[in-house]
Subunit: 209 residues, 2 copies
């Protein structure tokens, strides 16, 4: 099972590294972090550097590709080399996936046209720009194209992928291994659960003109 996770400057770390923790433990997984060039990639906070072990042109056939989101997505949506690579690998994937605004990158590559898809709650309408139908959901499946909601939702999607790939019991075992029995101190992770002033504050921070 060849898995590629795309990295790019100003991505959001957890978008990629939540799913990594699950997908890298699938039976026979060969997971590689890829970027336009090998080497260090800095996330949106600049505090985290992750290594891309392969350049895009070193990776031409994968079973699963995952595209994270983050403020850097806007630049990546204009990088022809990345969009062409995504279109090329998508032809042979079993799963083409994204987390958060990674779906906008899939959209820019033309891979979500006519499909149901999701993204971070504050960016949902942006999907229309690429001919996708925005759907609220922790993760949304349309055939082999799976898209997750904001940041942490990638962990849930990865467990769903694990079940599809290796069976329910295997996915449950992975969940137990990472002790994913969430109990956040607040119940404020979705806009319908949050006070309006916080929803507006986050929307203001995250949406670009």
């Amino acid at each position: 099972m060849k898995i590629a996770i795309l990295l790019y400057d100003e991505m959001t770390g957890l978008d990629a590294l939540g799913p990594y923790e699950v997908l890298s433990r699938l039976p026979g997984a060969e997971l590689r972090f890829v970027a336009e060039t090998r080497g260090e990639v800095r996330t949106d906070t600049r505090a985290l550097g992750i290594l891309a072990d392969a350049a895009l042109d070193e990776v031409d056939a994968v079973d699963l590709v995952l595209v994270p989101g983050g403020p850097g997505d806007a630049r990546v949506r204009e990088r022809r080399a990345v969009l062409e690579w995504l279109r090329a690998v998508d032809e042979a994937t079993r799963f083409t996936t994204s987390v958060c605004t990674g779906s906008l990158i899939l959209g820019a590559a033309g891979l979500l046209e006519g499909r149901r898809a999701t993204t971070h709650w504050a960016q949902l309408d942006e999907l229309r720009r690429y001919g996708a139908e925005p759907v609220q959901g922790r993760y949304v499946r349309d055939g082999k194209h799976w898209t997750a909601a904001g940041v942490s939702a990638g962990i849930d999607m990865a467990l769903g992928l694990a079940a599809e790939i290796a069976g329910d019991d295997y996915a449950r075992m992975l969940q137990l291994g990472i002790e994913y029995d969430p109990a956040p101190p607040f119940d404020c992770g979705a806009p319908e659960k949050a006070p309006t002033h916080l929803v507006e504050l986050v929307r203001g921070t995250l949406t670009r003109s």
Copy 2:
């Protein structure tokens, strides 16, 4: 707010990178990944390389230190340089924290003696070796020493820390920003929720002789 997250060979990535995603967004946060030497650190799967931007001897006063777990913890518990660094920074921290078996490293440094603490469910009894009182819980607070359960529990602890440091509203805003409204496809993240054969399988994989 100076924050240091320890990195070491064969650590579990999400232990560090879940909390990173929350803590790095605190007001005035200066978060650095530190290791015995600067440069690349490989996680337990070998598929992920994270950059340590500072060596231990470059970091001598932090407000918050976080120690992740992972199979490499056993070696770190015997690294005098790391244990001495932890003891030294602990003297001035506002919070000394761990995720998963990172608490065994804090224990080996002598920082959990007589304290209530937690770790990955499969390793809970190991805490006694260091004079700590094992407590089941998503995260456990004993004064300034906070310890989280396995891997993904660090996200919950980080939100608790965010509330303590920057107030409940700020923590809620961060939770909404990372859309942390968990909805895993299975409810199997804790041993009491999992079938016995899976509990034994995971225990066998994770416990060392």
